[in-house]
Amino acid sequence: MTNRRLATLFVIAGAIVVALYYYFSTRPLERVILLPQADGTPSAVVVQSRSGATTVLDRPYSVAELTKRGIGVEQTDATNVRTRYQELFDAFPARPRSYSLYFETGGTKLTPESEKQLQIVLGVLRELKDLPASELIVIGHADDVGTDALNDELSRRRAGSIAIMLKSEGIDTARVSIVGRGSRDPLVPVRKGAAEGRNRRVEIRLK
């Protein structure tokens, strides 16, 4: 009778040890969840554990779970993630908004179409400029006619002229910055030296 009791005790103790071992070796140390891109384009993260295991997540809502044993991959969904990580979504900053205006060649004069559109953009910006800790970033671009140095300067002048106009229209947040990107970032890539109206632009980004 005592022997049987002892044996039972050993079995229970053994089971507890195994359960504890299993718990600690498979308990997730870390989870990484890939979310879909806002614009629907494909994306991926590469998760590499300190012990050398590597996993690539490239499907929205796939989850990499790191344990002492390695990395496991499973699938979750939008509802599950929203519920579990509600605070992260609530605290997430607003995405930047972007408005573009286009210029006549070689200077800081807006095209007639952009001149017309300007009032709409100003209206939107007036409503949004009082968002908490808002920042206004005015980014100028030039097309690829002329030297890079000239285009850098022209793109900065375009951004500067729009920033001054915004200020005179009463749209000035505490943080305004002006960037001239020259011809580095064409909206429509064209061969060097070709004039392209869609590349002569200023992006007004509010974030």
Partner: protein, 149 residues
């Protein structure tokens, strides 16, 4: 007259970005709920909306607290309750969009949406935890770390 004004604005813009003192400011706190601290060197600051975030800052959200941060290159971050985030390395040139962002989530939860640096130089972006390194290919993701490891 107008031309001189443009020139001044352009110069200010150039000087602003070349100024090394300005280079340390890497982002801005956009949302705060509850008790969120910024640990900067030996200072411990109460985080408010609009506060600048610098390279090497440690952002700590206590229980029931959370924060949202927008970096200069439009990398967007949020951390949940009981979380610690470190901005290990940050540099961004708004003209060329060169730069790097290395952050660590030491505990808690992080949502990370990569910004403009990522689109050109994916390898310049890294998120580290105690147990892993996460490399990014133009991405929106969440990391959750157990705090007791």
């Amino acid at each position: 007259m107008n031309k001189i004004f443009f020139l001044l604005v352009s110069c200010a813009a150039v000087l602003g970005f070349a100024n090394p003192a300005a280079a340390y400011e890497s982002g801005i706190i956009k949302t705060v709920r509850g008790d969120v601290r910024i640990e900067r060197g030996d200072r411990n600051l109460q985080a408010k909306v609009g506060d600048p975030i610098w390279e090497l800052d440690r952002i700590v959200a206590q229980g029931g607290s959370s924060a949202g941060i927008s970096m200069n290159d439009e990398t967007l971050l949020s951390i949940g309750p009981n979380s610690t985030l470190v901005i290990n390395k940050y540099a961004y040139d708004p003209v060329t969009r060169d730069g790097h962002v290395v952050t660590s989530i030491l505990k808690g939860t992080l949502r990370y949406v990569s910004g403009l640096i990522g689109h050109l130089h994916p390898d310049a972006i890294k998120v580290m935890t105690q147990t892993s390194t996460i490399g990014i290919r133009g991405t929106d993701f969440i990391v959750q770390v157990s705090g007791d490891e």
